[in-house]
Symmetry: C3
């Protein structure tokens, strides 16, 4: 198994857990859990593959990904009542999935020899779009757009680190680990310490 | 005309009627009706074709599908006031469209020689995604996620029956009829008799 | 630079401004502005390219488009507080972007020798889907579906004019200018003078 497919497996598993947690908050049945889990898990990577004309799409080539997502859904269906705060679990699992998926997306684009900007964008797309679909389908304001939190910014920073590191002729695993660590560090800092970028204020203070 | 394109025509027509009914509830004009009808009608099949890299996409190859959807929109625009409960029509028409579209999606994947899991997934995607887009664009919680009703489960069961039947060397029409009948039977049972799977409860009763 | 890529640049720039204005209403940070601007700017053209199997997708082939969208986001982030009514700017910029994007979409389909109906549909898709994604992600009822206003109808009329004009062997620039002018004229008339098509009324008046 290659490093890239390992990252895809990891992000699929963890994103699936978040999708299933959303399903538990919506009180769906088991098949609804599997649906939300799979959509969240493979949504971002699917868009990446379609945009890069990379066929067959990763989970069409290897349906194991869907089995993993479904297993995660079953696990959550029977255990979600055991956790204290499902929203906390959702947000933190999402932060891990985001970081791994950004690395997976950037890694695929690097391997295809795409230019730096496309590498960054594919990292961001793979990281952010699964969660975005999860929230849009569930008729909620996406986590991506929650104000006063870093989210897309973390994906952007992580993917940019991947590009910079790739210029240094480092082994792929170092490049992608640096990418995931940057992304997760920023997201965790935002969740724990309230790190944020200045947000738009309609009337900035006078000088 | 092949059986598969006949199924595509049928699901396009009926999904278009549901899209137009949603447009009537939103009080759009005639072009808005045609837009919602077409989106609902071809949404699922389009995602199927893009995921399977099946180009040209079915309605790009043959725009008759869009003409059918538009005609359905015109019909509903001028007659929807005649029906008693538009929501009832919407839900029941949707159940027929779902069943036919699941058969169409599974049939295409079978014809392409895809493995069983992909056949099931393509059936579910073709069946569920057009209605999902209709509801998301209309800023509503998708019918797919309405709790205490079978929906994705019906698509899953129907597509699974298609896979099982395809192993028996039965004629294509029998395989796909069994698929559509299973899907529709479950959906109708859910609507009429309240059939459902156990839903997730945050605190299950103690033993 | 060809006329078609010029149109793509124009619609990307203006749609990006509208995406950034939506981000300012949601009080996002700078990266959130760039995300919403890029999604709005390239969403419609991306769907067009994927549906027509036109790879690489226009902004993957040439990431300048994303740079333009990001620059537009930065501009709006620092200047949006200077404008009187951001909603007015949003709606009017959207009308320009819509018209240019419809011309861009129809032009690409004409160049590929697609049949008239596909030309019309690609014009509508390129024009309407970026703004639709912007509004759906932002959890709002899409501008496309706002009742008592022409929107999809303008795209339809403009793209139809492009098809009719293309039969006259006119230069491409005339064909596409007629397309954009028709679309924008109708949209402006709808915004200024309340032009509309009859909308569906659940109980029409008795004769």
């Amino acid at each position: 198994m290659t490093l890239l497919s390992l990252l895809d497996y990891g992000s699929v598993l963890i994103f699936a857990l978040t999708g299933a947690l959303v399903a538990s908050r919506a009180q769906l049945d088991l098949v609804g859990f599997a649906f939300m889990a799979s959509l969240t898990a493979v949504g971002g990577g699917t868009v990446r593959d379609v945009l890069l004309d990379r066929h067959p799409v990763f989970w069409v080539a290897n349906p194991t990904y869907i089995l993993i997502a479904t297993s995660a859904a079953v696990l959550v269906f029977f255990t979600a009542h055991l956790v204290e705060s499902r929203y906390n679990w959702l947000v933190w699992l999402d932060s891990f999935a985001l970081s791994i998926a950004v690395a997976a997306g950037a890694g695929v684009a690097l391997e295809l020899g795409q230019p730096p900007m496309i590498v960054v964008l594919m990292g961001m797309i793979t990281g952010c779009l699964g969660g975005l679909m999860r929230d849009v389908v569930n008729d909620e304001l996406p986590l991506v757009l929650k104000q006063v939190q870093l989210y897309v910014s973390c994906a952007f920073a992580g993917a940019s680190v991947a590009v910079l590191a790739s210029f240094q002729d480092l082994p792929e695993i170092v490049v992608l680990a640096a990418c995931a660590a940057t992304c997760w560090g920023l997201r965790a800092g935002s969740l724990l310490f309230g790190w944020q970028l200045p947000v738009y204020k309609s009337r900035p203070p006078r000088n």
